[in-house]
């Protein structure tokens, strides 16, 4: 049990340090233009990586299950310009239904 608390405290401190690092080191300075150009594409890169890794992997393994169907449904709904909440709810509904079937 003590082990769990140790892990929690270390992870909390490390996470806070990681999040603080950029703001403290960079401060209020504006970033070099080349870095800004890179950062402009950080969001699409990061989000795309999060989508595929959360959908198709569990730890070091690939998975292809009902979750992928749900995310696919969201993609289709977004392509049809459905509201975000509806599109995302669809992911859960489709994944749940696929697991029952």
């Amino acid at each position: 049990m003590g082990e769990v608390w140790g892990v929690i405290v270390v992870v909390a401190v490390a996470s806070a340090a990681i999040k603080a690092a950029g703001p403290v080191v960079v401060g209020g300075r504006s970033l070099p233009p080349r870095l800004v150009a890179t950062i402009a594409f950080l969001a699409p890169a990061l989000l795309a990586a999060l989508v595929v890794s959360e959908t198709f992997s569990e730890g070091p393994r690939y998975v292809l299950d009902a979750k992928a169907l749900g995310v696919l449904a969201t993609g289709a709904a977004l392509a049809l310009r459905a509201p975000v909440l509806l599109a995302v709810t669809l992911a859960a509904v489709v994944a749940a239904v696929a697991r029952v079937g």
């Binding site: 703001p23 209020g28 504006s30 969001a43 989000l47």
Partner: protein, 246 residues
């Protein structure tokens, strides 16, 4: 380049190309978003954070973390991916060093994200470090204004909406897990990738952004079997370098 004289506390540069997020149209202070905009934009994600928090509470219970530790963890770590990794590694008997390493790797992405928002935060070092804690995936993406610019109030507001939901969800999951059952049965595990997909669609401004996203997705997928969890996502950030080539 403009803005070389930016000092601490200076207002962020005006946004020439206005690409307001949905609902941000009536921002009270001109082009700059308000905390209220952030709260409003963060609401749907707060709902998702609540659901995910419940899932985490249920998992942490089955992982033998006891009733209090998961709740404290949600309050002081506030990071879904890292917490899920820690709980599942401890549940599998993976050892505390493995759990810590996984959490740090999973949260490593917040380093480049923190650099990106840094120029838009305010105050001295301590305050900046504190404001930087508002960096979470969804809020950061909501605050993105394109061209590498970020809106400080939107990010902080959206995080303030999600924090109580995440902690509250964990309380519900830990204490009421038996009544809720398996979150996967309800398809709740599909919610976060689906939300990330919705945020991604907002970011796909132009062909180059699409190319970067595709490359990042391929890179992340390719690395899955070869690296510890978290590394594929961090490495895929390298795809952003495509933005400065040519």
């Amino acid at each position: 380049m403009p803005g070389d004289a930016d000092g601490p506390g200076r207002e962020e540069p005006a946004r020439e190309e206005s690409a307001p997020a949905p609902g941000a149209a009536q921002a009270a202070e001109g082009e700059e978003g308000s905390y209220r905009d952030g709260l409003r934009l963060g609401m749907p994600f707060a709902l998702a954070a609540l659901v995910l928090g419940v899932s985490f509470g249920v998992l942490a219970r089955t992982a033998g973390m006891g009733p209090v530790a998961p709740i404290v963890m949600s309050a002081i770590v506030f990071s879904g991916s890292a917490q899920f990794a820690v709980a599942s590694i401890l549940a599998a008997g993976g050892g505390k060093l493995a759990a810590i390493a996984a959490a740090i790797l999973l949260n490593a992405r917040f380093a480049p994200m923190g650099v990106a928002v840094a120029p838009y935060l305010r105050g001295g070092r301590l305050r900046r470090a504190l404001e930087g804690q508002a960096t979470v995936d969804t809020s950061w993406a909501l605050a993105s204004r394109g061209g590498g610019r970020f809106d400080r109030q939107t990010m902080i507001g959206a995080t303030l909406a999600q924090y109580p939901a995440w902690v509250g969800g964990t309380v519900i999951g830990t204490l009421g897990g038996d009544a809720i059952g398996d979150p996967e049965r309800l398809g709740l595990d599909a919610i976060f990738p689906a939300f990330f997909l919705a945020l991604l669609v907002e970011e796909l401004r132009g062909a180059r952004a699409v190319a970067v996203a595709l490359l990042a997705a391929l890179l992340a997928l390719a690395l899955v079997p070869f690296t510890p969890p978290g590394v594929p996502v961090v490495a895929a950030c390298g795809a952003a370098l495509l933005g400065v080539r040519r």
